[in-house]
Symmetry: C2
Subunit: 299 residues, 2 copies
């Protein structure tokens, strides 16, 4: 079976009853499976995670977004997290057997639908229509409060929907992006400068791997430091290559890796390289995994 | 979803049309999925691999066995592989969410069914009723040709079915066993004595790991040698512990591992320890794997 994942952020994190009503819309779509959701009252924002075949995920996303737009009034919204709309951002993430182009297509179907409901929509990441719309932070700059002005700028004509400010819904950003692997590596030292050096060694911006973002953190209660990373393309920058570089750089200082953390949902595909690398099973085929062969037969 | 796997061996490997008829019986059962089958004409034997929820696998096994018994006449069977019946051996293998006891129960339901069809049935491995019936080789000793005499021995009264010789069906062995991991490790040397020493170091019989069987082989066309293993309980003797011992022993001789091979279907559960060990993700939960969370929701 194909798996497309969707991780929308909606601008309500206090009224959990409202959030449940939105999630129920997803659950009501056959073939859409909610695997996680979390709400933050300070941020006043909820993150929902669901998946399924692309068509089911599109339908669930339409139902989810329509309900959120119906219930959330952005003109009354306060929260510490940057946002510009009731349905703030809707990334579609190809997990299994789905090409980027297909995920882009789905995001644009959602965009057209929301545009038809009177919501200004911007496409970002792999669905971006202009280079200055690739990054979410750039589209969202000025936030909800600056949106009315921003929409008057021809450079920020929405990709779908009216260029007119909708005070209730705000604007929505949607698009497609590769699954992101959140990997933290803890080091047996309390010397933060070592974690900083290693973060610089592996991250793209300083000359490291193309698809690594990294920062250094202190884990004070454990007397350790951490290299906290996002791997934005596990196929082109696989986990073991990054981890082995960290181990090697840490050894320069006589420091060992104490442990690692993979945070949140992980596509099975991201674990192919770790298995092949460390077991040296060069010819291993993921369809040998029994559970995988079952998923292959499901539709 | 629960997954029980069944890997019966039937005594026909030449008449592929006949084998197809037997496989079709499995395919006709809803929820039973044939993932592999292979026939060997010298052995005159076929190995079928299918899986599904326990109930579906039991029903498929009954249908498979009934058809094989209908079509195969053991009194005319010749082949180089040891065998004692048309449906020679039917192991049930708990792959996911199934306890050994449940697999044993399923094997005994098949045993009763075949006994009712007039086939003498012996239970082996985890379903064995006596210690001398644990090993297949011991039950099968004397093969089909010695079966008539063997059945007259009170020590070999069948667990199910008549103690009388059935010349057409022969006898069937069924039971439950843990999934077996076939792991081969290739060494960058053509010195077979090194592979022999390492095989001795890791295998149970010589003081190695409890759940490892190992032999040394030459891979002559590659100028390498191989430690060829069966891991009979990947939970208690996990893959990385065995592999790291091989790497360490090989280093004594200045030899490196050139590559490994995992042969055939592998339960996802067998890959948990490799991932945790090599990535040091001590807290990683297999339900974080997206594909796994989908299987968890299926019934």
């Amino acid at each position: 079976m194909k798996i497309l994942m969707c991780v929308p952020n909606i601008s309500e994190g206090k009224d959990l009853n409202l959030v449940e009503q939105v999630i129920d819309e997803i659950r009501s779509v056959k073939g859409a499976l909610v695997i996680d959701h979390s709400s933050d009252s300070d941020h006043n924002r909820s993150v929902l995670t669901y998946l399924g075949e692309p068509e089911a995920v599109l339908n669930a996303s339409k139902a989810m977004a329509a309900k959120a737009i119906e219930l959330i009034d952005m003109s009354k919204h306060h929260g510490s997290h940057p946002r510009m709309g009731a349905v703030d951002v809707v990334p579609f993430i190809p997990v299994r057997g789905v090409k980027t182009e297909e995920a882009v297509k789905i995001s644009k179907q959602l965009g057209k639908y929301l545009g038809g409901l009177g919501v200004p929509v911007f496409y970002y990441e792999d669905a971006a229509t202009r280079t200055e719309r690739i990054l979410l932070t750039r589209i969202r700059k000025g936030e909800y409060e600056g949106l009315e002005e921003k929409l008057k700028d021809p450079q920020w004509t929405p990709d779908e929907g009216p260029a007119q400010f909708n005070s209730r819904s705000g604007a929505t950003v949607t698009g497609a992006r590769f699954p992101l692997i959140a990997l933290n590596v803890n080091l047996r030292t309390n010397d933060i400068s070592i974690a900083k050096n290693i973060a610089k060694a592996v991250r793209h911006i300083n000359g490291g791997f193309r698809y690594v973002r990294a920062i250094a953190l202190a884990i004070e209660d454990q007397g350790m430091v951490q290299v906290s990373m996002n791997l934005t393309n596990y196929l082109k920058t696989p986990i073991p290559r990054v981890l082995e570089t960290i181990r090697s750089e840490a050894r320069r200082y006589g420091v060992n890796v104490a442990g690692s953390e993979l945070i949140g949902p992980v596509p099975l595909g991201a674990l192919e390289e770790p298995l092949k690398h460390y077991l040296q099973v060069h010819e291993f085929c993921m369809s040998q995994i029994i559970e995988n062969s079952i998923l292959d037969t499901l539709d």
